[in-house]
């Protein structure tokens, strides 16, 4: 009985992230439009786009390989599994121990790996430019992320997200290294999700695209899955930051329905707040040149390393 209940909670979490991801994307777009004094599309427009894409035929490039057709499903599966393992409204779910924070980062790395390969599959110049830039960005963002994970794990004494959230909830005080980690994590999240100033998700100018030029050859249901995966990734990073740095509302897995409802309301509030912050940030900054990106991400890597180093050095006191 307990097992069935636990599995049900885990299932709710999986479907919840899937259902909420396009809404978050739509909310950010709406808020950005309002800040630019446009009316903007409805917040549920991403759902309509997904449905429209799903119903359309796939137009496949003539020399696309089977890998090109399999990649969207793999990208979606890797991202969905990763997103479902980050605590949202409750911690300590049934399968939360099957992958820790390092494994979640690696799962996102897997999604990116197949996306990058798919970008090279058809053999066009734009696919190559997108992939080549994406791996350059990833080669800096991923180590930065690992250093952030180190910082969090050293403070909490664990790489399990549920444990980290529980430790941070019980109070670890204000720490310099955690401040550094927060700044670095936000920078990495911006880069990994292809937001301004690293990449512009709304761009239509080919030479400035990174993510968009990798998926240029995709259409129909394949494109829908990739769009859904990138929404899921944004949701994942927002949930991750909320889970670690604002864990206050989360219920534990054996709590009652009331606690779950409170946790859910808290999580939705956090999503809305982060969407607002992201929209304000994106409208107040311009996209940077591709070769300025290493400076941005290098700073984030250094912040992460500094946080870790501080913890190593202060451990003996």
């Amino acid at each position: 009985m307990v097992l069935i209940r636990d599995l049900a909670v885990q299932g709710v979490q999986m479907l919840l992230v899937l259902a909420m991801a396009p809404l978050l994307t739509g909310l950010v777009r709406k808020l950005k439009a309002r800040l630019m004094r446009r009316r903007g599309a409805s917040v549920i427009q991403p759902y309509r786009d997904l449905l429209r894409l799903l119903r359309k035929d796939v137009v496949l490039a003539e020399n696309a390989s089977p890998l090109f057709r399999a990649a969207p499903y793999l990208i979606f599966a890797f991202t969905w599994v990763a997103a479902a393992l980050v605590p949202t409204f409750a911690t300590g779910l049934t399968f939360s121990w099957s992958a820790d924070l390092i494994a979640i980062i690696a799962l996102l790395g897997g999604a990116r790996f197949f996306l990058a390969l798919a970008g090279m599959d058809v053999g066009t110049a734009f696919g190559g430019i997108g992939t080549s830039r994406e791996v350059m960005i990833a080669s800096l963002a991923e180590p930065a992320m690992i250093m952030i994970v180190f910082t969090l794990a050293l403070v909490a004494g664990s790489t399990q997200l549920s444990t980290v959230a529980a430790v941070f909830d019980s109070g670890v005080g204000l720490r310099v290294s955690l401040g550094l980690a927060l700044i670095a994590l936000v920078m990495v999240a911006i880069a990994e999700n292809g937001r301004v100033p690293i990449d512009n998700p709304a761009t239509h100018l080919e030479l400035t695209m990174v993510h968009e030029s990798m998926i240029l050859e995709y259409s129909g249901r394949h494109l829908a899955l990739i769009e859904l995966a990138s929404s899921l990734q944004l949701l994942l990073y927002v949930s991750l930051i909320a889970c670690v740095f604002a864990p206050w509302t989360m219920a534990s897995a054996d709590a009652g329905a009331g606690a779950f409802a409170f946790g859910m309301a808290g999580w939705l509030g956090k999503l809305a707040a982060s969407a607002a912050l992201l929209a304000v940030f994106e409208t107040s900054i311009a996209k940077m040149r591709v070769f300025r990106v290493p400076v941005f991400l290098g700073a984030s890597l250094m912040l992460g390393l500094l946080g870790t180093l501080l913890l190593f050095v202060t451990k003996s006191f």
């Binding site: 490039a61 820790d100 790996f113 190559g128 350059m136 990833a138």
Partner: protein, 671 residues
């Protein structure tokens, strides 16, 4: 019993070498015979190693009346030897199976067949040797046999150069090991490992041993900056030998390092021993993969990636040394397990990738990335197997590369408890470099796979490639299957490594196979856990559910059309990204400061109709700062000493006399 069987199999390998020399003219039948016998012998050795590893027992020893008359040839099969017998012969058996098909493409089989069994036999002997003489003799035979294989296509000038560099470096490495064993044996000359283990050595001598072993074993394994020969020699050999050299011989070198530092040196290691090991490991990992990312030759890219993986293994070993000498055996066992696990993993996926490169080479005749492309359409099975290898080496879950890197990260996360300040500062930097190299591996292999197998053919040869033979495919799929198995059941591998780790450290990781759901839990459940099997199942179910749901409820129609490419009309395959353009962003970010990479555009003046050229100059820092000065010093000394060759007999005699007197004087003053 297992030892006798192993030695018999090794004797058969040597005999096969002899037969191959005698029967050099037999042609294709000899190829099948040699690789068939080698396959049988290595499978027997693999079985012997596996049985010994899984049945916990005491070490078996055997003395044969060969070698030095007063000690004979000593052999010993303990847990460490058994593990490396498994690693060596797993790779070797796969290479033999692969060569049953691939070996038929060889133009001059008489230059490969006699040396191949001898190379296998020598690697096995190194692992079994239990005295310094047998060890060094086998080590040197291994070097020479592999040198002969590197020189198989000696008419290519590049290969001859590679062979020369390899010979020089291998001799220097063996010399360093010879001196290391000399120091360990002491003035009384106990060359048997049993006697060396018992002897106590002073700290100064122990430091010398560490230094010499790092040079001797490190140069064979490919530690930076002693890696210089490796990316030249490994690609020069036939592909199944490249796989053996990269996947297996580097592991034999790692075995040598572990045997000396963790076993023979006994209680001598102090905490600072881990500093050079960690530093070299981290630098090797980062530099190796940076070079790999910039290569435009498929086999050389793989060889540089071997350098990176050796660095990762040495990081694990360095951490194990640090924890062991600081009195934290449980964590030391974790780090040691991570290093050994990664060594096993690397032998699996690197052999697989070299087999793939060999199949591509046989099908197209090209190793240069810029002549390949689109092979996933022409060689779907090879492409599938290589994809598994590429995902595994990029440390992505749920395959095996991730499991061992995850364990290494867990060990790093436990190191703030180390008491020494030197290590407290060093380990986070090592962790950052490890994370950086892990991310760059994915970049390097997206480049390799994307350019070789995806896209459109860049040359007619690539467009007309044919799928490889069934032996080669079988070898690749077996290795791909093992990569998957080790990735989703890491707990079983960790348990199999436990006796080895226990011998070397005195402790081992908690038994993993008893944990529910086959998770791995290195320290405690609340601290960290990972379950490859569940992650694999989750990904599978999610992907299949997406496929089913979409095809059932949405659309399944497909239309084909020309590629869109933003309406770009030129269909020339040359418009695709090339190896150089793909790595240009990474080259600008990393290589310009580190390798002094320079880009030059040679633009003709206006009115001149000649082509503009774009050149990239990369210089290897190790060549420039270490080898070139050394080579010029040797040249200088040789020039200076040249006139000693043209003296009269009278002067030679007086020189001999002067040398004798000087030596006697030194001896008189010394004692």
């Amino acid at each position: 019993m297992a030892t006798v069987l192993s030695l018999a199999a090794i004797a058969i390998l040597f005999a096969t070498s002899g037969i191959a020399v005698v029967m050099a003219r037999a042609g294709a039948r000899l190829t099948g015979f040699v690789y068939g016998v080698c396959l049988a012998a290595t499978t027997a050795l693999l079985a012997a190693g596996a049985v010994r590893l899984l049945s916990a027992g005491s070490a078996e020893t055997l003395v044969l009346p060969l070698g030095l008359p007063w000690i004979g040839a000593n052999f010993r099969l303990d847990a460490l030897s058994a593990l490396f017998l498994v690693i060596v012969n797993l790779g070797a058996a796969a290479a033999c199976l692969y060569a049953l098909g691939y070996g038929r493409h060889e133009t001059e089989p008489a230059r490969v067949l006699p040396f191949y069994p001898a190379f296998l036999a020598a690697m096995n002997l190194v692992v079994l040797a239990d005295d310094a003489f047998t060890f060094l003799l086998s080590w040197e035979s291994m070097s020479l046999a592999s040198w002969a294989l590197v020189m198989a296509h000696h008419r290519v000038a590049e290969n001859a150069h590679a062979g020369y560099v390899y010979l020089v470096m291998a001799s220097a490495g063996t010399l360093a090991l010879l001196l290391a064993f000399g120091l360990l044996a002491g003035p009384d000359g106990h060359y048997a490992f049993g006697a060396i283990r018992g002897a106590a050595i002073s700290p100064a001598i122990a430091a010398g041993v560490l230094f010499l072993v790092l040079i001797g074993a490190g140069s064979k394994a490919g530690l930076y900056p002693l890696h210089a020969w490796l990316p030249l020699a490994h690609p020069a050999a036939p592909s199944h030998v490249s796989a053996l050299m990269s996947g297996v011989m580097t592991k034999v070198a790692i075995y040598g390092f572990i045997r000396v530092v963790f076993d023979l040196a006994g209680a001598a290691p102090e905490w600072w021993w881990s500093l050079p090991v960690l530093a070299l490991g981290a630098v090797t990992a980062t530099m190796g993969i940076l070079y790999a990312t910039l290569q435009s030759d498929l086999k050389r890219l793989l060889a540089y990636s071997t350098v990176e993986n050796v660095g990762v293994v040495f990081i694990g070993l360095g951490l194990a040394l640090a924890f062991k000498t600081s009195g934290m055996p449980a964590v030391a066992a974790l780090a040691m397990t991570a290093g050994l696990f990664h060594a096993l993993n690397h032998s699996l996926f690197k052999s697989l990738l070299f087999f793939g490169a060999g199949s591509v080479l046989a099908a197209t005749g090209a190793r240069e990335l810029d002549k390949l492309g689109g092979l996933i359409h022409r060689m779907p099975h090879t492409a599938m197997a290589v994809l598994v290898g590429v995902v595994a080496i990029s440390a992505l879950p749920p395959l095996n590369g991730f499991a061992s890197e995850w364990l290494t990260f867990q060990a790093i996360l436990l190191s703030p408890d180390l008491p020494q300040w030197g290590l407290k500062i060093m380990v986070p930097a090592v962790g950052a470099l490890l994370a950086l190299s892990a991310a760059l591996v994915a970049a390097a292999f997206i480049k390799a796979y994307g350019i070789v197998f995806l896209g459109r053919p860049r040359s007619p040869a690539a467009g007309n490639a044919r799928e490889t033979d069934r032996f080669s495919r079988a070898a690749m799929f077996i290795l791909a299957g093992l990569c998957l198995a080790a990735g989703i059941l890491p707990g079983l591998v960790i348990d199999a490594l436990a006796p080895v780790v226990h011998d070397m450290i005195g402790a081992h990781m908690p038994t993993q196979s008893a944990i529910p759901w086959l998770s791995i839990v290195p320290v405690g459940e609340s601290r960290s856990s990972y379950n490859g099997l569940l992650v694999f199942i989750f990904i599978g179910i999610s992907a299949l559910a997406a496929v089913y749901g979409i095809h059932r409820f949405a659309s399944r129609a497909v239309r084909t059309a020309p590629a869109w490419d933003c309406g770009f009309p030129v269909a020339d395959p040359a418009t695709q990204y090339s190896a150089g353009s793909f790595s240009q962003p990474i080259r600008r970010v990393f290589a310009t400061p580190i390798f002094r990479a320079r880009e030059e555009v040679a633009m003709p003046p206006p009115g001149d109709l000649s082509l503009a050229r774009f050149n990239v100059h990369l210089s290897d820092v190790a060549w420039e700062t270490l080898y070139r000065p050394l080579a010029s010093a040797v040249d200088f000394a040789a020039m200076r000493l040249n006139h000693f060759q043209f003296l009269t007999i009278r002067r030679y005699l007086s020189l001999v006399f002067a040398a004798l007197v000087t030596l006697l004087l030194v001896l008189a003053i010394w004692s």
